[in-house]
């Protein structure tokens, strides 16, 4: 007699990493805050604007499914007025353009990121946001 299979408990996939519930909770918090001032930020309307089903966005917000694709996160960031890189990081993703940058010189960029890990904020700002002064 074949061994009986354990019953299927749910079609929902469990979060794969600890970053995913944080992503969903963050999205929900931002959207709910916006919704208090503007009803256009209801779950349904946001889902329609970013081209996903409301039920799916609800699952994402509750952390029951993995975060959506980069394309959808881009739409979400734009719709909610959030920083794309922050949302991608919360989703445990690295954007395609950054992946391409790292792929070109992986060892160098790995070393750069590790060296900046403990650097003070002004040292990091100097690398990423400093305005170059030229000849004038």
């Amino acid at each position: 007699m074949p061994a009986s299979r354990p019953p299927r408990r749910s079609s929902s996939r469990k979060p794969r990493s600890t970053s995913q519930p944080r992503f969903g909770a963050y999205i929900r918090e931002v959207r709910e805050r916006l919704r208090k001032a503007d009803p256009r930020f209801s779950l349904r309307q946001v889902a329609l604007r970013i081209h996903v089903q409301p039920a799916y966005l609800s699952q994402v917000e509750r952390g029951n499914v993995a975060p959506p694709s980069e394309v959808t996160i881009r739409r979400l960031a734009k719709d909610l007025g959030e920083d794309l890189d922050v949302l991608l990081a919360l989703a445990g993703k690295v954007s395609d353009d950054l992946q391409e940058v790292i792929r070109r010189r992986p060892a160098l960029f790995a070393e750069l990121l590790r060296s900046l890990k403990g650097a003070p904020t002004h040292a990091v700002l100097r690398v990423v946001r400093e305005v170059r002064d030229g000849k004038w």
Partner: protein, 328 residues
């Protein structure tokens, strides 16, 4: 060190003091009428976008890239003011087309007292234009370089630089500590300003408004003159901004007469403890955009109706959370 954070320029001097930080933004605003009246301060309608020059270097003229700094778009004949936010005192030299906006002389790197060629934050929270008389300025208005309107062309007789230039120096840490002991409430004062111009446009003098530029309350030796940060703000003609950056430009602000007719307020800044500088005789002689266009026989300003200002809000330094800053 100068960094671009969102649409704000941030000047930091961590080697001098951890709080030595100045945030500068460039505010969109109404162009005040260029008539025989003296207007109060117009509102802020949100900051102009600022972008790293280096992010678009492949699409820009080589002389722009060489000067570094940032890009800022302005429509032709659009006005702006500079907002300075700091708790820590800073000496800020402001120039348009390398002509000092306070003295009307050529931009120099040093700080001078007679005449004073810089402003001091946080006592000076904003600068709306060229200092032409004591307590009176002519508004910053963007005009294409090469047509004779800009202050650079009228004073220096060249159309070489355009844009806006900022040079910032912090107070020495010892002077700051002394100041904190003397006036431990200074940190509550705030100011805002930031501005960048593009080589394609220069700043010309617009209508007159009441604004004082204040005398430096510190000693020359109090300034950390060896610690200097500067930024060239290239002003890009608004018509070129979309093809250059792929970004849409904010819409043109309402006219002064429409804004006033809607019952919206104008502003006055009153600092009873400060002494106003006398203004520049050189800048007092430059022609406004309206006067210059009249002498050319053209009409550079499509809208210049006088505004009958009814609502004025007086802002004091002790109440730094000004309402002047708006959202775009």
């Amino acid at each position: 060190m100068v960094t671009l954070e969102g649409d704000r320029l941030v000047f930091r001097f961590p080697d001098v003091h951890e709080q030595a930080r100045l945030t500068v933004t460039f505010q969109r605003t109404l162009r005040i009428p260029d008539d025989d009246r003296h207007y109060p301060l117009p509102p802020g309608l949100g900051g102009f976008p600022l972008r790293h020059m280096d992010d678009y270097r492949g699409q820009l003229p080589k002389p722009w890239v060489e000067r570094g700094g940032v890009l800022m778009p302005m429509h032709q004949a659009e006005a702006m003011w500079i907002s300075f936010a700091s708790h820590y005192p800073m000496a800020v030299t402001v120039a348009a087309g390398k002509v000092n906006a306070i003295t009307g002389s050529a931009l120099t790197r040093g700080l001078h007292r007679r005449p004073q060629n810089y402003l001091v934050t946080p006592d000076q929270p904003w600068l709306d234009g060229f200092c032409v008389e004591k307590g009176l300025i002519r508004q910053f208005v963007a005009m294409p370089l090469g047509q004779g309107y800009s202050v650079e062309e009228q004073v220096s007789r060249t159309a070489e630089h355009g844009g806006l230039q900022l040079i910032v120096r912090p107070l020495k840490a010892a002077a700051y500590r002394r100041l904190q002991r003397e006036r431990n409430d200074i940190a509550r004062r705030t100011a805002f300003d930031a501005y960048c111009l593009s080589s394609d446009m220069g700043l010309a003098p617009g209508g007159r408004m009441r604004q004082e530029v204040y005398e430096d309350p510190f000693e020359t030796a109090d300034w950390a003159q060896k610690h200097v940060s500067r930024c060239f703000i290239t002003i890009v003609n608004g018509a070129l901004w979309l093809p250059m950056t792929g970004e849409a430009l904010p819409s043109v602000p309402p006219t002064a007469s429409d804004y006033t007719a809607a019952g919206l307020p104008w502003f006055e800044y009153y600092n009873p403890g400060a002494v106003a500088l006398p203004g520049s005789k050189t800048l007092a002689k430059v022609k406004s955009v309206k006067a210059m266009s009249g002498s050319k026989g053209v009409s550079a300003l499509l809208e210049n109706d006088s505004a009958d200002v009814q609502r004025r809000i007086r802002i004091h330094p002790s109440r730094p959370r000004r309402v002047r800053e708006g959202r775009s």
